[in-house]
């Protein structure tokens, strides 16, 4: 059983982790590559931008503390913000188009094309080429959460937490 002081330490650590993840989603610039076609030529453009759009992922972040583990929960699509969405074979998913429509409206994107048609076109592009994060990183880690759990953060937590355990460990293994 964790002691109250240990529980408090872990909860404070978890809150800091969730905040760090939220900050990364909101404001960490992630390098990406966009693709367009002009006169039959494929043209790529590198750019950086934070991944946050609708705020849905941010609102979903929470932690759970059990007797043996600390779990950070968030929406499934966090995976695609880290590794990108690769081109799909087959029919693709309607979900992507729906999510892109929400993204267009959240970002306030203005176009001569109607929102739903624009969402369809973007979804089709992703279906064929993959997302801008995937195009840039080719399925490797985009680095979105690299600074969330640094050695300094872990060391700081360990030094506070293991101080609480020191007496217990001495009792288990003998002074």
């Amino acid at each position: 059983m964790l002691t109250p002081a240990q529980e408090i330490l872990i909860e404070l650590f978890a809150k800091q982790l969730v905040k760090n993840i939220g900050d990364a989603i909101k404001s960490k610039p992630i390098s990406r590559t966009s693709v367009k076609y002009e006169n039959g030529q494929r043209i790529t453009n590198d750019f950086t931008a934070p991944v946050n759009a609708t705020g849905k992922l941010l609102r979903s972040l929470r932690f759970e503390l059990t007797d043996t583990s600390l779990i950070i929960w968030g929406e499934d699509h966090a995976y695609f913000l880290i590794y990108g969405r690769k081109p799909t074979s087959g029919k693709g998913s309607r979900t992507v188009k729906d999510e892109i429509l929400k993204w267009i409206r959240a970002k306030g994107i203005k176009s001569e094309i109607e929102d739903k048609t624009l969402a369809f076109l973007i979804a089709r592009k992703i279906h064929r080429e993959g997302s801008s994060i995937y195009i840039k990183h080719k399925g490797s880690n985009s680095g979105l959460l690299d600074s969330v759990l640094t050695k300094e953060i872990i060391d700081d937590f360990n030094s506070k937490f293991t101080a609480q355990l020191e007496t217990d460990l001495k009792s288990e293994f003998g002074n």
């Binding site: 109250p4 529980e7 408090i8 330490l9 909860e11 404070l12 101080a163 609480q164 007496t167 009792s171």
Partner: protein
């Protein structure tokens, strides 16, 4: 009859302030449920329960943690409108708990100077724990004065 460190600390804390609800050997959830805190109460949790269920007193030095906590929002049983104005800010609650801990520790050192040596304390702010309390978590060493 000789008293243990745990008994001495408990007695000292309960004598320090009658608004304190003391907890030992319970998880935080059980401590909250048992204490039934009101806005003017303090919940003081003493660590550590070990595999033997007590603070280690077999060695000459023990490390003691004390979590000094207070509600940081209205409790559900009382009138929300009235109590909401009585709830201090989280910063005020943390400072209040820290000050109370320091004042208690000073008194404990003085009252038990023949029995214990108390080391320097270190502490951290505990903010919005379990969506219920905030306060101060302190750790200090206690060694026993060896009788010659």
């Amino acid at each position: 009859m000789a008293t243990t460190l745990k008994q001495d600390i408990r007695q000292s804390i309960e004598q320090y302030n009658e608004l304190i609800k003391f907890s030992y050997g319970r998880s935080l959830d059980n401590a909250f449920n048992s204490a039934k805190l009101k806005i003017d109460n303090y919940l003081v949790c003493l660590d550590p329960p070990t595999s033997t269920g007590d603070i280690l007193e077999s060695s000459l030095v023990d490390t003691v943690s004390i979590s000094w906590l207070k509600l940081d929002n209205v409790d559900s049983e009382s009138d929300q409108g009235l109590n909401k104005s009585s709830i201090d800010s989280v910063e005020e609650i943390v400072e209040d708990c820290r000050s109370n801990f320091i004042a208690w520790l000073k008194g404990f050192k003085s009252a038990y100077s023949n029995k214990y040596n108390i080391g320097q304390f270190s502490g951290i702010e505990a903010i919005k724990i379990n969506h219920l309390v905030s306060g101060f978590v302190a750790t200090f060493t206690v060694s026993y004065r060896v009788k010659c």
